[in-house]
């Protein structure tokens, strides 16, 4: 099996939510999947990464099918093997809950929020894909995100996400993983949703602030990434060199936003004060025009009397 995922950056092995979920899941059961970092999503049957290509059969792009495939490939560590059927049901329930409550907010943060999209997402994907294709791909993904969010407003999405984060935090409690001491596919899913929020620096960080208010979730992400997804030295070095560029980019975006808001505020503030000068000028202009009109039509006659001298 080969797992094709987006390249790594920002201290993450891959920056995309579902790529992270696939990767975390395969690492958790120590499967011998060959990980290929790829930037050619057109190879996959649905035009999206991650994709798992197998020797026989079709390529898999669905998380549940991937978990099934992992279970069948005859490893020593089988994921979700020790769970009771009640726990399994809970697992399904939570994965559905997260997909409908947390995922929209993550999508919104990365793809719909203009500031984040322009500063980070668009730049990252555009610099990893070829020129004409990147325009098409970015537009396609953004449109899809917008359609998925539908008619919900920003506040509704964030409210759902805050509630979901609190629910997750309660569910995790002081445990190491969500179902006791062994990782399950749910842990991979949660890790995929949360890690990009924690690691990718964003100018607009409403969701990140809320997430860092749940210390056990932060600890969970740190644990999973240090145990299962450590980065190699080369990657760390390369990412370190890029970091400065990203920090300056984000600082610039933030200052631009501040500037925009300041000018907006001053623009709002201006009409408040009475435009006295304009009023005076207008009055003068109007008076002059009336006078000229009156003189022209003969309402006022101006006669010049010449003083006769001598």
């Amino acid at each position: 099996m080969e797992l094709h995922i987006w390249p790594s950056d920002f201290g993450l092995p891959t920056i995309d939510v579902s790529s992270l979920q696939f990767l975390a899941c395969s690492k958790m059961c120590a499967s011998p999947v060959k990980v290929v970092s790829s930037a050619s999503p057109w190879r996959s049957p649905n035009g999206e990464l991650p994709m798992v290509s197998q020797q026989e059969g079709k390529a898999v792009t669905d998380f549940e099918k991937f978990v099934d495939a992992l279970k069948k490939c005859g490893q020593d560590v089988v994921i979700d093997a020790d769970l009771t059927s009640i726990e399994r049901a809970q697992l399904d329930a939570f994965s559905c809950y997260l997909h409908h409550n947390l995922y929209p907010a993550v999508l919104h943060t990365f793809w719909v929020d203009e500031l984040n999209y322009n500063t980070v997402t668009q730049y990252w994907y555009a610099s990893h894909l070829h020129f004409p294709y990147n325009l098409y791909y970015l537009e396609k993904r953004k449109k899809k995100a917008l359609r998925l969010l539908g008619s919900k407003t920003d506040t509704e999405i964030l409210k759902d996400a805050f509630l979901a984060l609190n629910t997750l935090s309660t569910k995790l409690g002081d445990n190491k993983f969500f179902c006791g001491s062994k990782p399950t596919s749910l842990d991979a899913l949660v890790f995929g949703y949360l890690a990009p929020l924690l690691r990718v620096p964003l100018p607009n960080d409403r969701l990140q602030v809320q997430l860092s208010a749940c210390p056990n979730l932060v600890r969970f992400v740190e644990t999973v990434s240090s145990i299962y997804l450590p980065l190699s030295e080369d990657e760390l070095k390369r990412q370190q060199s890029n970091r400065k560029m990203w920090t300056s980019r984000i600082a610039k975006a933030k200052s631009d936003k501040e500037m925009a808001r300041a000018t907006q505020e001053s623009a709002d503030a201006l009409p408040e004060e009475p435009p006295m000068r304009d009023a005076i000028l207008f009055t003068l202009g109007a008076l002059t025009l009336s006078l000229v009109f009156a003189v022209h039509t003969g309402l006022i006659e101006v006669s010049v009397e010449q003083e006769i001298s001598e």
Partner: protein, 182 residues
């Protein structure tokens, strides 16, 4: 908008719902349950009715043919208290919870978390499956969905509106990657 901005917005929204008002003159608007409502709408209406009976809050059910146009965001059922409109099962449960009436007071936090996950799974998974069957499967659409959905309209509308709705639902399903599932 900063993080503080969102919290302010949330509080304002919550206050504007005016949860402190008296529970009187409450009506629940539903589609015609016997002739018009589709499976998933019927389920939601029934769920809300059951929930309100469980909490023993008084209300009267009013069946109207055009509830999805009465409702501000197209979600049924619709609960009306004085001048406040609340749509959808979750929002109604939330509202009742804000009034201090709750069915989950004996559960621990973890159990509430589990319950929320289960509710969400049932709601989304079953609704999507029912939508798929009702709108995507040709025979069911012709024999059931079209007739029920169009039953309240007169001639030209009774075939045009189901057609439009079908197109919309199929688009929604394909966005959820459900259009191709066998």
């Amino acid at each position: 908008m900063s993080s503080a901005g969102v919290i302010t917005q949330l509080v304002t929204d919550a206050l504007s719902m005016n949860a402190a008002q008296d529970w009187e003159d409450v009506s629940l608007f539903t589609p015609y349950l016997n002739d018009q409502a589709l499976m998933y709408d019927f389920a939601d209406c029934l769920a809300v009715q059951t929930f309100l009976r469980m909490t023993s809050l008084p209300f009267n059910v009013r069946q109207r043919p055009n509830v999805d146009f009465i409702s501000p965001d197209g979600v049924v059922p619709l609960l009306k208290i004085n001048k406040t409109l609340i749509t959808g099962f979750n929002a109604i449960v939330d509202f009742v919870h804000k009034k201090g009436v709750t069915l989950t007071s004996h559960l621990s936090e973890t159990q509430v978390a589990d319950m929320r996950a289960n509710i969400s799974m049932i709601e989304h998974l079953l609704t999507t499956v029912e939508m798929y069957i009702l709108w995507k499967h040709d025979e069911t659409y012709d024999k059931v969905t079209k007739l029920r959905y169009g039953s309240v309209y007169h001639w030209p509308l009774c075939s045009v509106l189901p057609f439009l709705k079908r197109r919309q639902v199929i688009e929604e399903l394909s966005d959820k990657d459900w259009s191709s599932k066998p």
